[in-house]
Structures are given as C-alpha cells and as structure tokens.
C-alpha cells in the first residue's frame, strides 16, 4: 500500500535518502528508527509530498506520489493523519474545536462533524475535556487531542514523528497503547522514534535507517545496538524524555 522504489533525495551535498526501496502493507505498525540526521523525517516528508524526490517512485495505494501534481496534494494528505512531537494544537481553540477544525477545512458537513468529533475524542479518552483549551491540558492529554485530530477523518495511514518525545515514560506508554488500539482498527501506523525501550517492548516491525540507507527491516524488531549506528546519536536520552529538539 506504500511502496518506495529506489528513492533518492539529497539536499545539496547532504544525503536525505539514498536509493531506498521498501514496502509497508496495510495494517502494519512500523517503527522508523535511526540516529539523528539518518533520513527519517525525509522519509516521511516524501510520503506527504512536502518535499520532492530526486529519483525513484513512491506509490500510495493507487496514487503515485512522486508524480502527483501540487493540486493532488490535498487529496493525498486527507488519507494520511499526522502527529508531531510538539502536538501543534491551536491555542485559541478548544479541544473540540481543534478536532472539528480538521473536518471543517475539508468541507465536511456540520452534521458529520458533530457526529465524528465526539467519537474521535472518546476513542482517545479525552471526551471530558472537550471544552477545555490546550494550555489547560497535560502534555499527554494534548497529544491525545492531536491524535484525535489526526484520525478524525479516518485516514488509512497515521504518521507519528516522535509522538512520545515530549512525554514522560508513563504517559508515553499510554500514547503507545492508544496507537496500538488505532492500529487494531486497521489504520497503518508509521512511527518515528528514538525511544529504545518502547521499540523493544512493542515487538513490532522496525525499519532502521542510517545515512539515508535502510540498515535493517525486521518483522518483530528491536531498536538495535550502539554499534549499528552513528556514534553521536542521542536515542537513549530521548527515550527517557529529555529530548533536546
């Protein structure tokens, strides 16, 4: 359902991705790991067509992303939900409004909005905070709202770029449970993370990238040892929730 074929992306002399070929199937739960600068964000940005590949092809269901015109991008992004490390909620909107916003801007009818927003909020377990503003919530709760916003339009894929990076370990695990639950509903999940213990304990598919190349792709993988990677990566510290970025 997502297939990269010989995808290369460079930024001037920096290598983003180097001849990457990989296939992610519907319903997969994939961890994308690797040291800082490995090319994880590049991998994701290519999928969202935030950046264009130099060569190779990326196909998403029946959509060839690498050939998509700019006008096709909104359609692509409507089938991909995305969650960031820093939540990216709108501070002047309530929890409910933040989630409803994602539906309004793609022209969903108010009736559908009124039905689906509470469903999404209840799925992420935050229904009771619907009328609150983001700054009245804890970090974990804010991330739940962000997840509700990402899934409210029923995307086929949910991308999470270090979703637990700003959370303490217990809250991080709650978010992981939630993602697992979303995955069980059939949503493909691609999660970028530096959290070694989460990757190791989840026992899901792991794609390890370094210097733009795929080093490992394991069905029930682990984060990997230090020797696999660049000496200055910071995964261990980030896993503990002390991320610098």
């Amino acid at each position: 359902m997502i297939e990269y074929k010989n995808v290369t992306k460079t930024y001037g002399t920096n290598v983003g991705l180097d001849d990457v070929s990989i296939r992610i199937d519907k319903g997969d739960f994939v961890f994308l790991v690797g040291p800082s600068g490995a090319g994880k964000s590049t991998f994701i940005k290519l999928m969202l067509k935030e950046i264009k590949a130099d060569s190779g092809s990326i196909v998403f269901d029946d959509l060839e992303i690498t050939r998509l015109s700019n006008r096709g991008i909104p359609k692509l992004r409507r089938s991909i939900g995305i969650v960031f490390q820093d939540f990216r909620l709108l501070p002047k909107k309530t929890v409910y409004e933040n989630v409803a916003f994602a539906m309004e801007i793609i022209h969903m009818s108010p009736k559908v909005v009124r039905k689906q927003v509470p469903q999404a909020l209840s799925l992420v377990g935050i229904s009771s905070k619907a009328a609150k503003y983001p700054d009245e919530l804890s970090a974990g709760e804010q991330q739940r709202v962000a997840i509700a916003r990402a899934i409210v339009n029923n995307p086929t894929v949910l991308i999470a770029d270090e979703p637990t990076g700003n959370l303490d370990p217990d809250t991080a695990w709650e978010i992981m449970r939630l993602l697992e639950q979303i995955n069980q509903r059939g949503t493909t999940i691609v999660m970028v993370t530096h959290a070694r213990d989460i990757v190791n304990r989840m026992g899901r598919r792991v794609i390890a990238i370094n210097e733009g190349r795929i080093m490992r792709d394991e069905k029930m993988g682990v984060y990997g040892s230090e020797e696999d990677e660049n000496s200055h990566h910071m995964g261990m510290y980030r896993g503990g929730g002390y991320s610098i970025l």
């Binding site: 909104p74 409507r78 793609i106 916003r149 339009n153």
Partner: protein, 293 residues
C-alpha cells in the same frame, strides 16, 4: 466560501489596528490617484473640446469674389478626401454669430455703417493633421483673401496635454504598485500570525484556495473599504470644484469640466475595480511563496 467570508471578517476585527492602518494608507493613495484620474479625464475632455473648436479652417474670401466663383471653389474643396464638412458663411450670418458670441461688446462693429466681415468658407477636416495639405491647395485658388487655422497651436496643446496625461498615468501606476505592496504586507503579517494554523491546515489536506480564501477576502475587504471611502471623498470634492470653477470655465471654452454624474458613475466603477484588484493582488502575492510547499 462562507467560511472564507466569516474568517475574513473575524480577522478584520481581530487585527483591527492593522486593517485600519492599511485602509488608511490605501485610502490616502487612492485619493491621490483619484485626483490624477480627475486630471486625466478633464484634460482629455478639454482637449477634445479644443480640437472641435479649432479643427476648422476659415477661408476669407475677397470682397470681389462672386458667389458663383465661391460655389466652384466649394465643389473643388468638397472633392478633397480630407474634408469632412464644408459650409458657406455669408457675411451677414458672420455678423449675427459675432453678435451672439460677444453680446454687449458687439456695438463696436455696429457703430460702423458697413459690415466689416467678409464672406467665408468654413471647412472641417477629418483629422487635424490634414489641415496643412488642405490649406496649401486652397492657397492656389483665386479670390481668397486670407486663410485662418490653428494647427500649430492645437498641435502644441495636444503635445502638452498628452505629456500631462502620460505623467499622470505613470503616477497612477506607481501608486497602484505601492498600494498592492501595502496590502500584501498587511496580509503577510496576518499570515505570519496564523502560520501554525495554516501549516496544520496543509497537513490535514486543505486546498491552497481554501487556505488563501480568508486572506483573499480580507485583502479585498481592505481594498473595497478604502476604495469606497476615497471615492466618496473625491466625489464630494469634485462636487465642490464644479460649483466653484465649472461655470467659469464654460465661458472661456465651449467645453467645461466633465459632468459630475458622468464622473461619479465612472469613478465608482473604476474604484470598485481598483479596490478589488489591489486587495486580491496584494493577498495573492503575499501568500505565493508561503503556499509553495
């Protein structure tokens, strides 16, 4: 669409100071622009009038010239392709015209026993540039005392006025560019203030036009409000100008200032169009780079 308008109004009030400031600047610019517009329109109108007044060639006939001779002259002149209109003005009629035109000062002529004015031919050429050729040919006719025409004066006047018009047009263009820049800067600030929201909108799959919508409406709103204010002020001032100068000018020339109604109709249409395009261009330009990715 409804969303865009709603958002734009919300924004207009939320960023009240910013919107008001740009409305003020653009109103000021449009006011200046409006005066140059008035200038252009009136100058063209006066020039048109002058052309009409002075595109005639007066051929004064000798006292000795018989009517039959004049008639054959008229046939020849009438055959010239450049000539549009031709008429014989007997001296009695000329005197009447003179009396009408100069009213109370006509006694100067009346004091004399005889009519001092000659019979004449009045010729109108289609294009004022052709007057020279026509005059040259008539000079060769017999029975002509004098030929009067104003080509050089008119030429000089037209050159001067087209210079004025060109200058005014250049000023107008510069003012338009400035106002587009003003709008685009205002909108850019608003876009920056909502950068986060826009980036989220893009991630969730909003189309560029959907994102642009509220800012576009906002820009157009600023444009239209400024256009309405400045058009109102200009209309008022023009009304005053007409009151003061309108009739005086009419005595000096056969055409006065362009009528108030005509000006108002054109002004409102043009200003509405300007307001909309300034607003739209400004906001689209300011968002262009932003929406690229």
């Amino acid at each position: 669409m409804i969303y865009s308008v709603k958002q734009a109004f919300k924004q207009f009030f939320r960023n009240g100071a910013m919107s008001t400031a740009s409305v003020f600047s653009i109103t000021a610019i449009l006011l200046i622009l409006g005066f140059f517009f008035l200038l252009i329109v009136n100058v063209s109108n006066i020039v048109e009038g002058i052309r009409k007044d002075f595109d005639t060639i007066q051929v004064y006939l000798l006292e000795s010239t018989e009517y039959a001779q004049a008639d054959s002259m008229m046939k020849q002149i009438g055959n010239m392709p450049e000539v549009q209109e031709l008429r014989y003005l007997p001296k009695e009629q000329a005197l009447e015209d003179f009396k009408v035109r100069f009213g109370d000062k006509a006694y100067l002529l009346e004091m004399r026993q005889e009519n001092p004015l000659p019979n004449s031919l009045i010729i109108k050429v289609g294009r004022i540039e052709d007057a020279d050729t026509v005059v040259k040919r008539i000079r060769t006719f017999e029975g002509v005392e004098e030929i009067n025409y104003y080509q050089e004066t008119v030429d000089r006047l037209i050159r001067l006025t087209s210079f004025i018009q060109f200058g005014a047009l250049a000023v107008i263009l510069v003012l338009l560019v400035i106002s587009v820049v003003v709008v685009s800067n205002t909108i850019k600030l608003m876009v920056l203030a909502r950068e986060r929201e826009i980036s989220i909108m893009k991630y969730v799959g909003a189309t560029n036009w959907f994102i642009r919508g509220p800012f576009l409406v906002e820009g157009i709103l600023i444009g239209i409000v400024s256009a309405a204010i400045s058009a109102g002020v200009i209309a008022f001032l023009y009304h005053k100008i007409i009151q003061v100068f309108g009739t005086d000018l009419l005595v000096m020339m056969s055409t006065g200032l362009v009528s108030e109604r005509f000006m108002l109709n054109n002004l409102s249409v043009i200003f509405a169009a300007l307001g909309i395009s300034i607003g739209a261009c400004g906001s689209i330009i300011s968002m262009r780079r932003f929406l690229d990715t």
